[in-house]
């Protein structure tokens, strides 16, 4: 095996391991939203430290390959795309951390709001899993279609806004509802960064730039 093959495999494995941690943060975030378990929410914040550290290690490893092995063509794109993907994953992790912070500071969500949160969260995990699977299998063709799933997150989010507007019109406590929307906005933003992962993967495989907005 050529040395650069080994290095690129290690580099991509590191990204996949980072993506596993980020996924776990979301699964836990959705759990603690439901349970209100503040200790478990704290564990998400701690996990984010590991994710941040992963990004730095991926950057270092990428720079090492660039400086020592001078990759070109597809090898070079693996590194450039990988560094960008790690940066998006780090941001996606930050959004999960924001949800954990919300849980620590606030009371549990009422059942109806939780149903909306669950719907948005489940749609996100579906999008995220497909995007990471595309990365794992270098499947640029599917990666072009996967970002459409983000529309489902946006639709679920719109339903939540409508629900809250109705409640506000009925004269309910506004600050509490606004905070909930702000918290769930994190998942919507995470969806956008997941679309970026698809863009970077397509660039890695085909050398073409896509913009899914």
């Amino acid at each position: 095996m050529v040395k650069i093959d080994t290095e690129l495999t290690l580099f991509q494995d590191a990204i996949l391991q980072m993506s596993d941690k980020v996924r776990r943060m979301y699964i836990m975030a959705l759990e603690v939203l439901e349970s209100g378990n503040k200790e478990r929410a704290l564990a998400i914040i701690q996990l984010d430290e590991f994710v941040n550290n992963d990004e730095e290690e991926i950057n270092d490893r990428g720079l090492e390959v660039l400086s020592l092995l001078a990759p070109v063509a597809s090898d070079l794109r693996v590194i450039v795309a990988g560094i960008k993907i790690a940066s998006d994953l780090e941001r996606i992790g930050d959004y999960a951390k924001n949800i954990a912070r919300y849980v620590i500071k606030n009371e549990r969500l009422e059942p109806e709001l939780m149903r909306h949160a669950r719907s948005i969260g489940d749609q996100f995990v579906l999008l995220y899993d497909k995007a990471i699977e595309c990365y794992r299998t270098k499947d640029a063709k599917t990666a072009i279609e996967v970002p459409q799933l983000d529309d489902e997150i946006d639709a679920a989010f719109t339903l939540l806004i409508r629900f809250i507007e109705e409640r506000m019109e009925a004269g309910e406590n506004i600050p509490h509802l606004v905070a909930t929307v702000g918290m769930l906005r994190n998942i919507e933003r995470a969806g956008d960064h997941t679309k970026n992962v698809c863009e970077h993967l397509i660039y890695q495989v085909r050398g073409q730039h896509y913009d899914f907005g």
């Binding site: 650069i4 070109v72 063509a73 050398g207």
Partner: protein, 251 residues
């Protein structure tokens, strides 16, 4: 972009062994074109076709066409000496003549019967300046060229080629015998020279091809596999064999 050299359907044989297969290629004016590929792929052989250096090899047979500014260089009426003044060459190992620095550069002109000191002085200075060597040797032009360092000798060989005012300069691995500093100087020089000359360079260093050339041609077993802008060839090559070679997965 205008091409200086147009190679069409070129086949080359050493005895009965075919070394080049159906090469079609345009070399663009004021561009640096790099030939890359593994040893024995035919890149130096093709380079040597461009000023008929292969004429010196017995049993070397060439079919097809190479045109310089539209005129066939393998035409039987083509004067090979005048062709080589228009298409100069710099070799892998610096090969100055065992003469003074001055006489090395003036050599070609003297061969043409030009002995007017004023003209020779002018050409020697201009050529050495263009080869970025003047400042280093202007006070010792009478010194034997063999006492120069390897990098200086190579720049002297470039000056010797430039003195003939060629259109094209062929370089066959011009820096492979040089240290990184001397290599950097030659590479910088190549960048300067392309404003006035068309340069074709054979190199084993892909990094060098990437750094200095505008176009790159990749050869494999006597075939031209892919020719493209250097940017394209090193970022998104069309052919899997090119990708394998430039990423070091060949063999």
């Amino acid at each position: 972009m205008e091409s200086v050299l147009k190679i069409s359907n070129l086949n080359l044989f050493y005895n009965n062994v075919q070394a080049l297969y159906n090469i079609d290629m345009d070399i663009k004016m004021n561009h640096v074109t790099a030939f890359i590929g593994p040893s024995g792929c035919g890149k130096s052989t093709l380079l040597r076709c461009l000023n008929r250096m292969n004429d010196l090899i017995e049993n070397c047979r060439i079919e097809g066409s190479i045109q310089l500014d539209g005129a066939e260089i393998y035409d039987k009426n083509q004067d090979v000496v005048s062709l080589r003044t228009r298409v100069g060459m710099v070799f892998q190992k610096p090969n100055p003549f065992p003469k003074t620095i001055y006489e090395n550069v003036a050599y070609g002109l003297r061969c043409q019967g030009i002995n007017d000191k004023k003209i020779l002085d002018e050409v020697v200075e201009k050529s050495l300046r263009k080869a970025a060597l003047w400042e280093e040797v202007k006070d010792r032009l009478g010194q034997n060229a063999l006492r120069l360092s390897g990098g200086q000798q190579q720049r002297l060989c470039i000056a010797r080629a430039i003195a003939m005012e060629p259109e094209v300069i062929l370089m066959d691995e011009p820096t492979s015998a040089l240290d990184p500093i001397a290599t950097a100087k030659i590479e910088e020089l190549i960048q300067d020279l392309k404003a006035e000359y068309t340069i074709v360079i054979v190199t084993h260093s892909m990094q060098q091809a990437a750094r200095i050339s505008d176009e790159t041609a990749f050869f494999l077993m006597g075939e031209l596999i892919e020719m493209n802008t250097t940017k394209k060839l090193f970022q998104l090559p069309n052919d899997k064999r090119t990708e394998d070679y430039i990423t070091g997965r060949f063999g």
